[in-house]
Symmetry: C2
């Protein structure tokens, strides 16, 4: 876990052999590939993306919910259920608010220890501080790596309920949202717009007081939510994973959604939408760096100083910054004609 970005970059040429080792089941190689995506240079990340393109075929399941809702316990149950089917399972747990990364720093991870020695299971935490663009950019790339490494199921777990979590959740084939009674979760979930992206809802800790009410609330809110035009109706599944309740129903709901995805071309559609978002994110990162790299930010500083002095405004300054980097002036002049 002490891999430095420099050594990761030096390893760019070795990416294909690293992927071979990972596909042969070497957890260390898998971990190194994920580290590259998390902390490596653009060049190394590109090498990983090239090596992984078109490799593997995984079911990607995103799980999101507030801290304390019991995600890890559910993930642990899902690992067990998929392992019973003899499927290889990878878990990527991402914590947008955590500066830590690279391993089992979250106490939650300890609950999954029973799978630690199972060679068919890989578990990894990831945090937001690693690189520019944050998790919303790194997590989908890491998922692709795990898919290329030959896992049949990738569980993408995000901690928290917010815009980043929604973004990450949309990079799964199936998005599962967890709530628990007594946490005011359903309101949070509705506010954050997560209901709109949920394919399966779990009321966790369903053996506690208030669980029935929360399930009813969710069902009501689902009816009101501005869902996308697809014809999948998100089921609400009550689970008490500590007591082993609801796991069969949950697996059933996930299987149903998997069937629906396959028979409706939805999986293809979702993946295309995700790929478009990822391509755009990479392109924008590239353009962002060209805005300051070409003169080490000298132009930007001069423009900012003029804006603070009141001699310019941000929009005109942005035009000038774009011009100075040599971008698409034909579009600039179009825009100026509109605003002149």
């Amino acid at each position: 876990m002490s891999t430095s970005p420099t050594s990761l970059t030096q390893r760019a040429r070795d990416i294909p052999s690293l992927l071979d080792a990972a596909r042969a089941g070497q957890n260390r190689a898998i971990g190194q590939l994920v580290s590259v995506v998390e902390m490596g240079s653009v060049q190394t990340r590109r090498a990983v993306a090239v090596a992984c393109a078109g490799v593997g075929q995984a079911r990607i399941i995103g799980l999101t919910g507030s801290p304390g809702v019991g995600k890890s316990t559910v993930v642990d149950s899902l690992i067990g259920a998929y392992r019973e089917r003899d499927l290889k399972v990878a878990v990527l747990a991402v914590d947008p608010s955590s500066p830590f990364s690279g391993g089992a720093v979250l106490g939650d991870r300890i609950r999954m220890q029973r799978h630690a020695l199972d060679p068919g299971v890989f578990i990894r935490s990831m945090a937001s501080r690693g690189r520019l663009g944050g998790l919303a950019a790194a997590a989908p790339e890491a998922v692709k790596v795990l898919e290329a490494c030959g896992f049949d199921v990738v569980l993408l777990e995000t901690v928290g309920v917010g815009q980043v979590e929604v973004d990450v959740a949309t990079h799964a084939d199936t998005t599962v949202v967890l709530v628990a009674p007594g946490m005011g979760d359903s309101i949070q979930v509705a506010k954050a717009g997560i209901l709109e992206v949920a394919d399966v809802l779990i009321v966790n800790k369903a053996d506690r007081a208030g669980a029935t009410l929360v399930a009813a609330e969710l069902a009501d809110m689902l009816e009101l939510a501005h869902r996308s035009t697809d014809d999948w109706e998100a089921p609400v599944v009550s689970v008490a994973s500590a007591a082993g309740i609801g796991l069969t129903e949950l697996m059933g709901a996930l299987d149903d959604h998997g069937t629906w995805l396959a028979t409706n071309g939805q999986r293809q559609q979702r993946r295309t939408r995700q790929a478009a978002a990822e391509i755009q994110a990479v392109a924008i990162d590239r353009l962002r760096s060209t805005l300051t790299d070409h003169d080490h930010g000298v132009t930007l500083l001069a423009l900012a100083t003029a804006v603070v002095a009141g001699a310019n405004d941000c929009y005109t300054a942005a035009d000038e910054l774009i011009d100075s980097a040599g971008h698409a002036t034909h579009i600039d002049s179009d825009m100026r004609a509109v605003t002149a």
Copy 2:
């Protein structure tokens, strides 16, 4: 509050007269200008930025902290204290997780009602759904509008502790972070990297059990935090705003920081850094739209389909997208040389 984006766009030519009305104290005009920033077209927003450039001189104070920490009560006290000095005060309350906006939808706002009829006070809520780029882009522009409208103090209040809040907080002259005992806040604050940007820390509800411990924890963490190189030492102020305790100390801390900002050229430096970030954000928004606008996203869809089929990777596809939009090919070839 039912102003539609279309009517806001039609109003582009009227922005200068709207600003005149706002500066004359018409709250309706102020609200309309903020609405343009929140929901208007690029062209109208540009017109606002042009009209506001170099107008006004406000002290901008950012306040951030978890829901329930008591921000509104502190803001209410600050409004009162600044009004006693006969300064005009604007409050912009932004809630990154809320889909609602445009008025007093937050119950919290009700606590500020006593200032509702004071013509020297303007209070406005803003939510994240209004526009692309979200609050992190809109809030700084709205603050500039309020500065241009002639307010002496702008209180920028963000709900929550996360990356968006940190981003928003860095768009103030002075950033105030609130924590309260019993909420595990200090840990959250440390995790989110907010300590690094705090100029003043408030332990609110300081009359409750555990407040002394929280204050000590914060002081310890401040020593450990990787603070920027400036020589300001963030004070920890204990406040019980409901009981009127600590307001004098808080105002003293804010005044001290104001003096420090002025005598060290820090205010100028911060504003320049903020302006640079805003210029970049506007430029990136522009470039982002050129990536799909020029052929209505046809290229992007084709590239995404190829990536899903495994025939291409996201990084190469991003190159092709950038090329197709006619951007900065000289930088492309540099990058290719590195990665070839």
